[in-house]
Protein backbone atom coordinates (compact mmCIF):
# COMPACT_ATOMS: atom_id res chain seq x y z
CA UNK A 1 0.00 0.00 0.00
CA UNK A 2 1.24 3.45 -0.89
CA UNK A 3 1.73 5.44 2.32
CA UNK A 4 0.50 9.03 2.39
CA UNK A 5 4.00 10.54 2.41
CA UNK A 6 5.09 8.56 -0.67
CA UNK A 7 1.78 9.24 -2.39
CA UNK A 8 2.14 12.98 -1.94
CA UNK A 9 5.81 12.99 -2.98
CA UNK A 10 4.89 11.05 -6.16
CA UNK A 11 2.67 13.93 -7.36
CA UNK A 12 5.75 16.16 -7.76
CA UNK A 13 7.02 13.61 -10.28
CA UNK A 14 3.73 13.74 -12.16
CA UNK A 15 4.13 17.49 -12.65
CA UNK A 16 7.56 16.89 -14.16
CA UNK A 17 6.00 14.44 -16.61
CA UNK A 18 7.55 11.39 -14.95
CA UNK A 19 5.71 8.07 -14.97
CA UNK A 20 4.88 7.30 -11.32
CA UNK A 21 3.88 3.67 -11.63
CA UNK A 22 3.21 3.09 -7.90
CA UNK A 23 0.92 6.10 -7.78
CA UNK A 24 -0.79 5.08 -11.00
CA UNK A 25 -1.31 1.56 -9.61
CA UNK A 26 -2.95 3.03 -6.49
CA UNK A 27 -5.54 4.97 -8.53
CA UNK A 28 -8.75 3.23 -9.54
CA UNK A 29 -9.06 3.15 -13.31
CA UNK A 30 -12.14 2.11 -15.26
CA UNK A 31 -13.27 3.30 -18.67
CA UNK A 32 -11.24 6.39 -17.72
CA UNK A 33 -7.74 5.12 -16.99
CA UNK A 34 -5.76 5.96 -13.87
CA UNK A 35 -3.24 7.82 -16.07
CA UNK A 36 -5.97 9.97 -17.64
CA UNK A 37 -7.37 10.77 -14.20
CA UNK A 38 -3.94 11.81 -12.92
CA UNK A 39 -3.48 13.96 -16.03
CA UNK A 40 -6.46 16.10 -14.94
CA UNK A 41 -4.40 17.19 -11.93
CA UNK A 42 -1.19 17.62 -13.89
CA UNK A 43 -2.95 19.89 -16.39
CA UNK A 44 -4.59 21.92 -13.67
CA UNK A 45 -1.31 22.45 -11.82
CA UNK A 46 0.50 23.50 -15.01
CA UNK A 47 -2.31 25.67 -16.35
CA UNK A 48 -3.18 27.43 -13.12
CA UNK A 49 0.43 28.24 -12.27
CA UNK A 50 1.13 29.36 -15.85
CA UNK A 51 -1.95 31.61 -15.55
CA UNK A 52 -0.62 33.01 -12.27
CA UNK A 53 2.67 33.84 -14.02
CA UNK A 54 0.73 35.43 -16.90
CA UNK A 55 -1.07 37.69 -14.42
CA UNK A 56 2.19 38.78 -12.79
CA UNK A 57 4.24 38.99 -16.01
CA UNK A 58 1.48 40.40 -18.18
CA UNK A 59 3.82 42.62 -20.22
CA UNK A 60 6.03 39.65 -21.07
CA UNK A 61 2.93 37.76 -22.24
CA UNK A 62 1.81 40.69 -24.41
CA UNK A 63 5.22 40.78 -26.08
CA UNK A 64 5.55 37.04 -26.82
CA UNK A 65 1.87 36.11 -27.20
CA UNK A 66 -0.18 33.63 -25.22
CA UNK A 67 1.04 30.39 -26.83
CA UNK A 68 4.73 31.20 -26.51
CA UNK A 69 4.20 32.40 -22.95
CA UNK A 70 2.28 29.29 -21.92
CA UNK A 71 4.99 26.97 -23.27
CA UNK A 72 7.70 28.99 -21.51
CA UNK A 73 5.72 29.20 -18.26
CA UNK A 74 5.03 25.46 -18.19
CA UNK A 75 8.73 24.71 -18.52
CA UNK A 76 9.41 27.04 -15.62
CA UNK A 77 6.58 25.61 -13.49
CA UNK A 78 7.85 22.04 -13.90
CA UNK A 79 11.26 23.04 -12.54
CA UNK A 80 10.29 25.56 -9.89
CA UNK A 81 6.97 24.98 -8.15
CA UNK A 82 5.98 27.67 -5.63
CA UNK A 83 7.35 27.46 -2.10
CA UNK A 84 4.13 28.87 -0.65
CA UNK A 85 0.47 29.38 -1.66
CA UNK A 86 0.33 33.13 -2.35
CA UNK A 87 0.36 33.28 -6.14
CA UNK A 88 1.25 36.98 -6.24
CA UNK A 89 4.55 35.95 -4.63
CA UNK A 90 5.32 33.24 -7.19
CA UNK A 91 7.78 33.81 -10.01
CA UNK A 92 10.87 35.41 -8.41
CA UNK A 93 13.04 33.11 -10.54
CA UNK A 94 11.09 33.60 -13.77
CA UNK A 95 13.14 36.57 -15.13
CA UNK A 96 16.40 34.61 -14.75
CA UNK A 97 14.72 31.60 -16.36
CA UNK A 98 13.67 33.76 -19.31
CA UNK A 99 17.24 35.06 -19.70
CA UNK A 100 18.38 31.46 -20.27
CA UNK A 101 15.33 30.30 -22.24
CA UNK A 102 16.69 29.35 -25.64
CA UNK A 103 13.54 30.09 -27.75
CA UNK A 104 13.54 33.69 -26.41
CA UNK A 105 17.14 34.59 -27.27
CA UNK A 106 15.95 36.75 -30.19
CA UNK A 107 14.31 39.03 -27.60
CA UNK A 108 17.33 40.03 -25.47
CA UNK A 109 15.31 42.62 -23.52
CA UNK A 110 12.60 40.14 -22.45
CA UNK A 111 14.23 39.15 -19.14
CA UNK A 112 14.59 42.82 -18.20
CA UNK A 113 10.91 43.45 -18.99
CA UNK A 114 10.15 40.47 -16.72
CA UNK A 115 12.25 42.08 -13.96
CA UNK A 116 10.20 45.24 -14.35
CA UNK A 117 6.89 43.32 -14.23
CA UNK A 118 8.14 41.52 -11.10
CA UNK A 119 9.26 44.75 -9.40
CA UNK A 120 5.88 46.37 -10.15
CA UNK A 121 4.12 43.31 -8.73
CA UNK A 122 6.21 43.43 -5.55
CA UNK A 123 5.58 47.16 -5.18
CA UNK A 124 1.82 46.69 -5.67
CA UNK A 125 1.74 44.03 -2.96
CA UNK A 126 4.00 45.85 -0.55
CA UNK A 127 2.59 47.08 2.72
CA UNK A 128 1.22 50.61 2.65
CA UNK A 129 3.51 52.51 4.99
CA UNK A 130 4.18 56.08 5.96
CA UNK A 131 6.75 57.76 3.79
CA UNK A 132 9.35 60.38 4.58
CA UNK A 133 8.29 63.98 4.01
CA UNK A 134 10.24 67.22 3.85
CA UNK A 135 8.48 68.26 7.06
CA UNK A 136 9.93 65.22 8.89
CA UNK A 137 13.40 66.45 8.06
CA UNK A 138 12.88 70.16 8.69
CA UNK A 139 13.08 69.65 12.46
CA UNK A 140 16.49 68.03 12.20
CA UNK A 141 19.77 69.93 11.79
CA UNK A 142 21.31 69.59 8.32
CA UNK A 143 24.33 67.61 9.52
CA UNK A 144 22.03 65.06 11.16
CA UNK A 145 20.04 64.71 7.96
CA UNK A 146 23.29 64.04 6.10
CA UNK A 147 24.06 61.21 8.55
CA UNK A 148 20.68 59.50 8.17
CA UNK A 149 20.68 56.02 6.60
CA UNK A 150 17.49 56.67 4.64
CA UNK A 151 15.58 53.56 3.69
CA UNK A 152 13.65 53.27 0.44
CA UNK A 153 9.88 53.03 0.89
CA UNK A 154 8.43 49.48 1.00
CA UNK A 155 8.24 48.17 -2.57
CA UNK A 156 10.60 50.84 -3.95
CA UNK A 157 13.47 49.43 -6.01
CA UNK A 158 15.81 50.63 -8.76
CA UNK A 159 16.38 48.69 -11.97
CA UNK A 160 18.79 49.15 -14.83
CA UNK A 161 18.48 47.74 -18.32
CA UNK A 162 20.66 48.10 -21.41
CA UNK A 163 17.39 48.38 -23.37
CA UNK A 164 14.67 51.06 -23.30
CA UNK A 165 12.38 48.81 -21.24
CA UNK A 166 10.29 51.76 -20.07
CA UNK A 167 9.22 52.41 -23.68
CA UNK A 168 8.85 48.69 -24.40
CA UNK A 169 6.66 48.33 -21.30
CA UNK A 170 4.52 51.34 -22.26
CA UNK A 171 3.80 50.24 -25.82
CA UNK A 172 2.92 46.75 -24.53
CA UNK A 173 0.13 47.88 -22.22
CA UNK A 174 -3.52 47.29 -23.16
CA UNK A 175 -4.82 50.17 -25.27
CA UNK A 176 -1.34 51.52 -26.08
CA UNK A 177 -0.87 53.13 -29.47
CA UNK A 178 0.81 50.90 -32.04
CA UNK A 179 4.31 52.35 -31.92
CA UNK A 180 7.72 50.91 -32.52
CA UNK A 181 10.61 51.25 -30.09
CA UNK A 182 14.17 51.67 -31.29
CA UNK A 183 16.15 49.08 -29.36
CA UNK A 184 19.32 51.03 -30.06
CA UNK A 185 17.91 54.00 -28.12
CA UNK A 186 20.03 52.90 -25.18
CA UNK A 187 19.56 51.72 -21.65
CA UNK A 188 17.45 53.13 -18.87
CA UNK A 189 17.40 53.29 -15.08
CA UNK A 190 14.01 53.10 -13.40
CA UNK A 191 12.70 53.66 -9.91
CA UNK A 192 9.70 51.42 -9.20
CA UNK A 193 7.30 52.65 -6.53
CA UNK A 194 4.09 51.68 -4.82
CA UNK A 195 1.51 54.42 -5.23
CA UNK A 196 -1.84 54.91 -3.53
CA UNK A 197 -3.82 52.55 -5.78
CA UNK A 198 -1.22 50.87 -7.96
CA UNK A 199 2.49 50.64 -8.70
CA UNK A 200 4.46 52.74 -11.17
CA UNK A 201 7.97 53.53 -12.36
CA UNK A 202 9.81 56.74 -13.15
CA UNK A 203 13.04 57.09 -15.13
CA UNK A 204 16.03 58.23 -13.08
CA UNK A 205 19.53 59.19 -14.19
CA UNK A 206 22.41 56.79 -13.81
CA UNK A 207 23.78 58.92 -10.95
CA UNK A 208 20.36 58.87 -9.25
CA UNK A 209 20.25 55.10 -9.67
CA UNK A 210 23.69 54.84 -8.01
CA UNK A 211 22.52 57.17 -5.22
CA UNK A 212 19.33 55.15 -4.60
CA UNK A 213 21.17 51.83 -4.76
CA UNK A 214 23.67 53.12 -2.17
CA UNK A 215 20.78 54.11 0.14
CA UNK A 216 19.27 50.69 -0.48
CA UNK A 217 22.53 49.16 0.77
CA UNK A 218 22.19 51.15 4.01
CA UNK A 219 24.57 54.03 3.24
CA UNK A 220 23.89 57.43 4.83
CA UNK A 221 22.42 60.23 2.75
CA UNK A 222 25.84 61.93 2.59
CA UNK A 223 27.71 58.81 1.49
CA UNK A 224 25.02 57.92 -1.05
CA UNK A 225 25.25 61.45 -2.49
CA UNK A 226 29.00 60.98 -2.88
CA UNK A 227 28.36 57.77 -4.81
CA UNK A 228 25.94 59.68 -7.04
CA UNK A 229 28.45 62.44 -7.64
CA UNK A 230 31.23 59.97 -8.44
CA UNK A 231 28.95 58.37 -11.04
CA UNK A 232 28.27 61.71 -12.72
CA UNK A 233 29.61 65.01 -11.48
CA UNK A 234 26.44 66.70 -12.75
CA UNK A 235 24.57 64.88 -9.95
CA UNK A 236 22.81 67.53 -7.90
CA UNK A 237 21.38 66.44 -4.56
CA UNK A 238 19.46 69.70 -4.16
CA UNK A 239 17.26 68.89 -7.15
CA UNK A 240 17.26 65.07 -6.89
CA UNK A 241 16.40 64.83 -3.20
CA UNK A 242 13.25 67.01 -3.21
CA UNK A 243 12.07 65.25 -6.37
CA UNK A 244 12.47 61.83 -4.77
CA UNK A 245 10.81 63.04 -1.55
CA UNK A 246 7.85 64.26 -3.60
CA UNK A 247 7.67 60.81 -5.25
CA UNK A 248 7.41 59.29 -1.73
CA UNK A 249 10.48 57.19 -2.45
CA UNK A 250 11.72 56.99 1.15
CA UNK A 251 10.35 55.18 4.17
CA UNK A 252 9.39 57.24 7.22
CA UNK A 253 12.16 57.54 9.80
CA UNK A 254 12.03 54.96 12.52
CA UNK A 255 11.16 56.60 15.80
CA UNK A 256 13.95 55.08 17.83
CA UNK A 257 16.41 56.48 15.33
CA UNK A 258 14.94 59.98 15.39
CA UNK A 259 14.99 59.93 19.19
CA UNK A 260 18.61 58.89 19.19
CA UNK A 261 19.44 61.72 16.82
CA UNK A 262 17.48 64.20 18.90
CA UNK A 263 19.23 63.09 22.08
CA UNK A 264 22.58 63.49 20.38
CA UNK A 265 21.58 67.04 19.46
Amino acid sequence: MLGLRDLQAAFAGIVKGEVQSRLEAAVVGDSISAAARLRVHRHHIEQSLAAALAATFSTVQTIVGEDFFRAMARRYVAGDLPHQPVLAEYGAGFPAFIADYEPATSLPYLADVARLDWALNLAFHSVAANHLTAADLSSLPAERVAGLPLKLAPGAVVLHSSYPIDRIWQVSQPGAADESVALGAGGVSLLVLRREDDAAFVPVSEAEEAFLSALGRGETLERAAEVGFRTDDAFDLSTTFPRLLALKAFAALQHHFVERVEKAV
Binding site: M1, L2, G3, L4, R5, L7, Q8, A9, F11, A12, V15, A25, A26, V27, V28, D30, S31, I32, S33, A34, A36, R37, L38, R39, V40, H41, H44, I45, S48, L49, A52, L81, P82, H83, Q84, P85, V86, L87, A88, E89, F124, H125, S126, V127, A128, E196, D197, D198
Partner: protein, 279 residues
Protein backbone atom coordinates in the same frame (compact mmCIF):
# COMPACT_ATOMS: atom_id res chain seq x y z
CA UNK B 1 -24.67 34.27 9.98
CA UNK B 2 -28.26 33.77 8.74
CA UNK B 3 -29.03 31.33 5.95
CA UNK B 4 -28.66 33.93 3.20
CA UNK B 5 -27.15 33.75 -0.29
CA UNK B 6 -23.93 35.58 -1.15
CA UNK B 7 -21.24 35.79 -3.80
CA UNK B 8 -17.55 35.06 -4.05
CA UNK B 9 -15.86 38.46 -4.43
CA UNK B 10 -13.15 38.35 -7.10
CA UNK B 11 -10.73 41.10 -8.09
CA UNK B 12 -12.45 42.08 -11.39
CA UNK B 13 -15.55 43.04 -9.35
CA UNK B 14 -13.83 44.65 -6.40
CA UNK B 15 -14.07 48.27 -7.56
CA UNK B 16 -17.70 47.88 -8.64
CA UNK B 17 -18.76 46.30 -5.35
CA UNK B 18 -16.86 48.94 -3.39
CA UNK B 19 -18.59 51.69 -5.38
CA UNK B 20 -22.14 50.35 -5.74
CA UNK B 21 -22.44 48.24 -2.54
CA UNK B 22 -24.96 45.85 -4.18
CA UNK B 23 -27.40 44.02 -1.94
CA UNK B 24 -26.23 40.48 -1.30
CA UNK B 25 -26.23 38.25 1.78
CA UNK B 26 -22.47 38.01 2.29
CA UNK B 27 -19.14 38.12 0.51
CA UNK B 28 -16.55 35.38 0.44
CA UNK B 29 -12.90 36.00 -0.40
CA UNK B 30 -9.95 33.68 -0.92
CA UNK B 31 -7.55 34.21 1.96
CA UNK B 32 -4.48 33.71 -0.24
CA UNK B 33 -5.40 36.70 -2.42
CA UNK B 34 -5.16 39.10 0.51
CA UNK B 35 -2.13 37.93 2.46
CA UNK B 36 0.27 40.28 0.74
CA UNK B 37 -0.51 43.92 1.44
CA UNK B 38 -2.13 45.68 -1.50
CA UNK B 39 -4.65 48.43 -2.16
CA UNK B 40 -7.21 45.60 -2.57
CA UNK B 41 -6.94 44.64 1.11
CA UNK B 42 -7.78 48.20 2.09
CA UNK B 43 -10.92 47.99 -0.06
CA UNK B 44 -11.91 44.72 1.63
CA UNK B 45 -11.50 46.33 5.04
CA UNK B 46 -13.78 49.17 3.96
CA UNK B 47 -16.39 46.69 2.70
CA UNK B 48 -16.19 44.79 5.97
CA UNK B 49 -18.29 47.49 7.64
CA UNK B 50 -21.21 46.83 5.25
CA UNK B 51 -21.05 43.07 4.62
CA UNK B 52 -20.73 39.80 6.44
CA UNK B 53 -17.61 38.00 5.24
CA UNK B 54 -16.55 34.44 4.80
CA UNK B 55 -12.82 33.74 4.56
CA UNK B 56 -12.15 30.78 2.29
CA UNK B 57 -8.58 29.48 2.30
CA UNK B 58 -7.30 27.37 -0.57
CA UNK B 59 -3.70 26.78 0.51
CA UNK B 60 -3.59 25.51 4.09
CA UNK B 61 -3.22 21.98 2.72
CA UNK B 62 -5.16 20.29 5.52
CA UNK B 63 -4.31 16.88 4.08
CA UNK B 64 -0.51 17.33 3.97
CA UNK B 65 1.37 14.61 5.78
CA UNK B 66 4.07 17.18 6.56
CA UNK B 67 1.58 19.40 8.41
CA UNK B 68 0.42 22.96 7.92
CA UNK B 69 3.13 25.47 7.02
CA UNK B 70 3.79 27.67 10.08
CA UNK B 71 4.39 30.88 8.16
CA UNK B 72 1.28 30.45 6.05
CA UNK B 73 -0.85 29.65 9.07
CA UNK B 74 0.36 32.82 10.77
CA UNK B 75 -0.52 34.94 7.75
CA UNK B 76 -4.01 33.45 7.50
CA UNK B 77 -4.49 33.93 11.25
CA UNK B 78 -3.45 37.59 10.99
CA UNK B 79 -5.95 38.18 8.16
CA UNK B 80 -8.69 36.36 10.10
CA UNK B 81 -7.99 38.59 13.08
CA UNK B 82 -8.13 41.68 10.91
CA UNK B 83 -11.41 40.83 9.16
CA UNK B 84 -13.19 38.88 11.92
CA UNK B 85 -15.18 36.91 9.29
CA UNK B 86 -18.37 35.03 10.17
CA UNK B 87 -17.01 31.84 8.57
CA UNK B 88 -13.56 30.40 7.86
CA UNK B 89 -13.03 27.37 5.64
CA UNK B 90 -10.59 25.29 3.61
CA UNK B 91 -10.77 21.94 1.83
CA UNK B 92 -10.49 18.22 2.43
CA UNK B 93 -7.45 18.05 0.16
CA UNK B 94 -3.73 18.65 0.14
CA UNK B 95 -1.56 20.94 -1.99
CA UNK B 96 1.91 20.90 -0.40
CA UNK B 97 4.55 18.19 -0.53
CA UNK B 98 8.27 18.60 0.14
CA UNK B 99 7.68 22.29 0.85
CA UNK B 100 6.41 22.84 -2.70
CA UNK B 101 2.92 24.16 -3.37
CA UNK B 102 0.96 22.61 -6.26
CA UNK B 103 -1.90 25.13 -6.50
CA UNK B 104 -4.40 22.30 -6.83
CA UNK B 105 -6.76 20.60 -4.40
CA UNK B 106 -5.18 17.17 -4.59
CA UNK B 107 -7.04 14.04 -3.54
CA UNK B 108 -6.50 12.04 -0.37
CA UNK B 109 -6.91 8.31 0.05
CA UNK B 110 -9.66 7.90 2.63
CA UNK B 111 -7.72 5.81 5.12
CA UNK B 112 -7.14 5.87 8.88
CA UNK B 113 -3.64 7.23 8.18
CA UNK B 114 -5.05 10.17 6.21
CA UNK B 115 -7.77 10.74 8.78
CA UNK B 116 -5.15 11.09 11.54
CA UNK B 117 -3.25 13.59 9.41
CA UNK B 118 -6.30 15.73 8.58
CA UNK B 119 -7.65 15.64 12.14
CA UNK B 120 -4.25 16.79 13.45
CA UNK B 121 -3.99 19.62 10.91
CA UNK B 122 -7.57 20.80 11.45
CA UNK B 123 -7.10 20.80 15.22
CA UNK B 124 -3.91 22.82 14.86
CA UNK B 125 -5.73 25.32 12.62
CA UNK B 126 -8.67 25.63 15.01
CA UNK B 127 -6.34 25.98 18.02
CA UNK B 128 -4.44 28.78 16.29
CA UNK B 129 -7.59 30.61 15.15
CA UNK B 130 -9.39 29.85 18.41
CA UNK B 131 -12.55 28.97 16.53
CA UNK B 132 -14.22 26.27 14.50
CA UNK B 133 -13.40 26.05 10.80
CA UNK B 134 -15.46 24.49 8.02
CA UNK B 135 -13.91 21.80 5.80
CA UNK B 136 -15.19 21.53 2.23
CA UNK B 137 -15.77 18.30 0.30
CA UNK B 138 -13.52 18.42 -2.79
CA UNK B 139 -14.22 17.73 -6.46
CA UNK B 140 -12.69 14.34 -7.19
CA UNK B 141 -11.28 13.12 -10.48
CA UNK B 142 -9.87 9.89 -9.08
CA UNK B 143 -10.11 7.59 -6.10
CA UNK B 144 -7.53 5.34 -4.46
CA UNK B 145 -7.87 1.57 -4.37
CA UNK B 146 -6.64 1.45 -0.77
CA UNK B 147 -9.32 3.84 0.59
CA UNK B 148 -11.21 2.15 3.42
CA UNK B 149 -13.81 4.86 4.05
CA UNK B 150 -16.28 6.59 1.77
CA UNK B 151 -15.83 10.36 1.45
CA UNK B 152 -18.95 11.19 3.52
CA UNK B 153 -17.88 8.69 6.21
CA UNK B 154 -14.40 10.26 6.25
CA UNK B 155 -15.95 13.72 6.63
CA UNK B 156 -18.23 12.47 9.40
CA UNK B 157 -15.28 11.01 11.32
CA UNK B 158 -13.30 14.20 10.77
CA UNK B 159 -16.14 16.23 12.30
CA UNK B 160 -16.43 13.82 15.23
CA UNK B 161 -12.71 13.76 16.01
CA UNK B 162 -11.73 17.39 15.32
CA UNK B 163 -14.91 19.29 16.10
CA UNK B 164 -14.74 21.07 12.74
CA UNK B 165 -17.80 22.02 10.69
CA UNK B 166 -18.55 21.17 7.07
CA UNK B 167 -18.83 23.30 3.99
CA UNK B 168 -20.97 21.30 1.61
CA UNK B 169 -20.14 22.14 -2.00
CA UNK B 170 -23.13 20.91 -3.97
CA UNK B 171 -21.37 21.26 -7.32
CA UNK B 172 -18.46 19.19 -5.99
CA UNK B 173 -20.89 16.42 -5.03
CA UNK B 174 -22.21 16.36 -8.60
CA UNK B 175 -18.69 16.43 -10.09
CA UNK B 176 -17.35 13.73 -7.75
CA UNK B 177 -20.40 11.50 -8.13
CA UNK B 178 -20.20 11.66 -11.93
CA UNK B 179 -16.43 11.11 -12.12
CA UNK B 180 -16.30 8.30 -9.55
CA UNK B 181 -19.60 6.65 -10.62
CA UNK B 182 -21.34 7.35 -7.30
CA UNK B 183 -24.97 8.17 -6.54
CA UNK B 184 -25.23 11.80 -5.33
CA UNK B 185 -28.31 10.99 -3.24
CA UNK B 186 -26.45 8.20 -1.45
CA UNK B 187 -23.44 10.47 -0.96
CA UNK B 188 -25.74 12.96 0.77
CA UNK B 189 -27.62 10.51 2.94
CA UNK B 190 -25.69 10.41 6.17
CA UNK B 191 -23.78 13.59 7.05
CA UNK B 192 -23.66 15.16 10.54
CA UNK B 193 -26.38 17.77 9.95
CA UNK B 194 -25.51 20.09 12.82
CA UNK B 195 -21.90 20.40 11.55
CA UNK B 196 -22.91 21.81 8.17
CA UNK B 197 -22.22 25.55 8.20
CA UNK B 198 -22.28 26.64 4.56
CA UNK B 199 -23.17 25.55 1.03
CA UNK B 200 -21.23 26.33 -2.13
CA UNK B 201 -22.65 26.44 -5.66
CA UNK B 202 -20.72 26.84 -8.90
CA UNK B 203 -20.63 25.80 -12.52
CA UNK B 204 -18.51 22.99 -13.93
CA UNK B 205 -17.13 22.09 -17.35
CA UNK B 206 -17.40 18.82 -19.23
CA UNK B 207 -14.04 17.68 -20.64
CA UNK B 208 -12.91 14.58 -22.44
CA UNK B 209 -10.80 11.87 -20.78
CA UNK B 210 -10.04 8.70 -22.74
CA UNK B 211 -13.00 9.61 -24.97
CA UNK B 212 -15.40 9.84 -22.02
CA UNK B 213 -16.89 12.90 -20.37
CA UNK B 214 -15.23 13.95 -17.12
CA UNK B 215 -16.63 16.86 -15.13
CA UNK B 216 -14.15 19.59 -14.19
CA UNK B 217 -14.84 21.92 -11.30
CA UNK B 218 -13.73 25.07 -13.12
CA UNK B 219 -16.18 27.59 -11.60
CA UNK B 220 -16.52 29.02 -15.08
CA UNK B 221 -20.24 29.02 -15.86
CA UNK B 222 -23.71 29.27 -14.35
CA UNK B 223 -24.77 26.67 -11.79
CA UNK B 224 -26.09 23.67 -13.73
CA UNK B 225 -29.71 22.52 -13.42
CA UNK B 226 -28.48 19.24 -11.97
CA UNK B 227 -26.73 21.16 -9.17
CA UNK B 228 -29.81 23.35 -8.53
CA UNK B 229 -31.93 20.28 -8.19
CA UNK B 230 -29.40 18.62 -5.88
CA UNK B 231 -29.45 21.82 -3.80
CA UNK B 232 -33.19 21.27 -3.31
CA UNK B 233 -32.46 17.75 -2.08
CA UNK B 234 -29.76 19.11 0.26
CA UNK B 235 -32.16 21.74 1.62
CA UNK B 236 -34.86 19.10 2.12
CA UNK B 237 -32.47 16.94 4.07
CA UNK B 238 -30.35 19.45 6.02
CA UNK B 239 -32.19 22.77 5.87
CA UNK B 240 -31.03 26.26 4.85
CA UNK B 241 -27.47 27.50 5.42
CA UNK B 242 -25.47 30.50 4.12
CA UNK B 243 -25.09 29.68 0.42
CA UNK B 244 -22.43 31.00 -1.91
CA UNK B 245 -22.14 31.45 -5.68
CA UNK B 246 -18.53 30.91 -6.79
CA UNK B 247 -17.12 31.96 -10.17
CA UNK B 248 -13.39 31.90 -10.85
CA UNK B 249 -12.72 31.45 -14.57
CA UNK B 250 -14.30 33.42 -17.45
CA UNK B 251 -15.70 35.71 -14.76
CA UNK B 252 -18.87 37.42 -16.09
CA UNK B 253 -20.43 40.76 -15.18
CA UNK B 254 -21.15 41.17 -11.47
CA UNK B 255 -24.88 41.20 -12.25
CA UNK B 256 -24.74 37.55 -13.39
CA UNK B 257 -23.33 36.44 -10.02
CA UNK B 258 -25.92 38.51 -8.18
CA UNK B 259 -28.69 36.92 -10.29
CA UNK B 260 -27.44 33.45 -9.40
CA UNK B 261 -27.34 34.46 -5.73
CA UNK B 262 -30.94 35.69 -5.97
CA UNK B 263 -31.96 32.30 -7.33
CA UNK B 264 -30.11 30.56 -4.46
CA UNK B 265 -31.78 32.96 -2.02
CA UNK B 266 -35.22 32.01 -3.38
CA UNK B 267 -34.44 28.31 -2.87
CA UNK B 268 -33.43 29.06 0.73
CA UNK B 269 -36.60 31.09 1.35
CA UNK B 270 -38.87 28.38 -0.04
CA UNK B 271 -37.25 25.91 2.34
CA UNK B 272 -37.34 28.33 5.30
CA UNK B 273 -41.05 28.93 4.59
CA UNK B 274 -41.75 25.19 4.46
CA UNK B 275 -39.92 24.75 7.77
CA UNK B 276 -41.95 27.55 9.35
CA UNK B 277 -45.23 25.99 8.19
CA UNK B 278 -44.14 22.59 9.47
CA UNK B 279 -43.29 24.05 12.88
Amino acid sequence: MHAVAGIGLRSPHLAEVAHDRPATGFLEIHAENYLAGSPALRTIEQLRADYEFSLHAVGLSLGSVEGIDDAHLERVAALAERLAPALISDHLAWSVSGGRYFNDLLPLPYTEEALDVVVGNVQRLQDRLKRQVLVENPSCYLSFAHSTLSEPAFLGELVRRSGCGLLLDVNNIVVTAHNLRLDPAAWLADLPASAIGEYHLAGHAVNDADGEPILIDDHGSRVSEEVWSLLDAVLDRYGPRPTLIEWDTDIPALGVLLEEAVRAGRALEVRAGANARAA
